[in-house]
């Protein structure tokens, strides 16, 4: 842990959301608010869509797997940076967790259509840079960057 560093320079606007674990009824609220804000700022629809997917998957992961956490959005001149942080329990094998189809979601979550093992792969797919670090007993941190001029 400690390799992901928040780049606080030139942040035009920052948004911060807390996501509680196991709160399925509110899952999706943070990502919806982020999307709304980006739309209001007239950011390109394709960029908004990619950020919406990335934040939604992050939010669902926080609800299903974490002890609660935060999603922070830095809106910058050339990109949007997303920082996802939780308070554990941490991921034992990150590369296994990054494998499409691998999931440790509960039966209840799976019945609801979660736990397809696509969350982290989707986040990586829609972002231009994707970093993850995790430590069991400490937590997980993810940084994603979506540039306005790529993909």
């Amino acid at each position: 842990m400690g390799s992901i560093i928040k780049n606080e320079e030139n942040v035009a606007m920052r948004l911060n959301y807390t996501v509680d674990n196991d709160d399925f009824t509110r899952a999706g609220e943070a990502s919806s608010k982020i999307k709304q804000m980006l739309k209001q700022l007239a950011i390109d629809a394709n960029i908004v869509r990619r950020v919406a997917i990335a934040t939604y998957e992050a939010e669902i992961n926080l609800v299903i797997h974490s002890n609660g956490g935060t999603i922070e959005v830095f809106i910058k001149q050339d990109c949007i940076e997303l920082y996802v942080e939780d308070n554990g329990p941490g991921i034992k094998d990150v590369s296994l967790a990054m494998t499409k189809g691998f999931s440790t979601a509960t039966a209840v979550a799976r019945e609801m259509g979660f736990g397809a093992g696509m969350g982290l792969p989707n986040m990586e797919k829609v972002s231009d840079t994707f970093e993850i670090e995790s430590e069991v007993g400490v937590g997980t941190r993810i940084k994603m960057v979506v540039f306005y001029n790529t993909k």
Binding site: T25, I53, E57, G113, A116, M118
Partner: protein, 110 residues
């Protein structure tokens, strides 16, 4: 085709939402939400048997035209209330997914 056509010509029931003049350009059927997040396109009619309120976030984040609940499956009351609040259109039909696909295909969603 327009969402309204499903209601007027094919007896789909409008369960929530009001924006029925939207055009349907794509159709997709899947019940795994992350799968839908990965594959869903703009202006999609999304067929799913999931009826809990998390389907609304998926539909609104991806700007879907509507959600279609097939086979007369009952929809959670919470979901309908929330869909009305968030202006997500939900349709219900007795038809099976394949029959819905056939209608959309014949109406020009190809």
């Amino acid at each position: 085709m327009i969402v309204k056509d499903l209601i007027e010509s094919h007896a789909f029931k409008l369960m929530a939402g009001t924006d029925i003049d939207r055009e349907i350009k794509n159709v997709y059927s899947c019940d795994l939400l992350s799968w839908v997040m990965a594959k869903g396109k703009f202006d999609t009619a999304w067929i799913t048997v999931q009826t809990h309120s998390n389907i609304l976030a998926v539909a609104s984040l991806l700007d879907f035209a509507c959600i279609i609940i097939p086979e007369g499956i009952e929809i959670d009351k919470d979901t309908i209330e929330k869909a009305n609040a968030e202006s997500v259109v939900i349709l219900s039909t007795q038809l099976e997914t394949f029959e819905i696909f056939k209608i959309l295909y014949k109406e020009g969603v190809q």
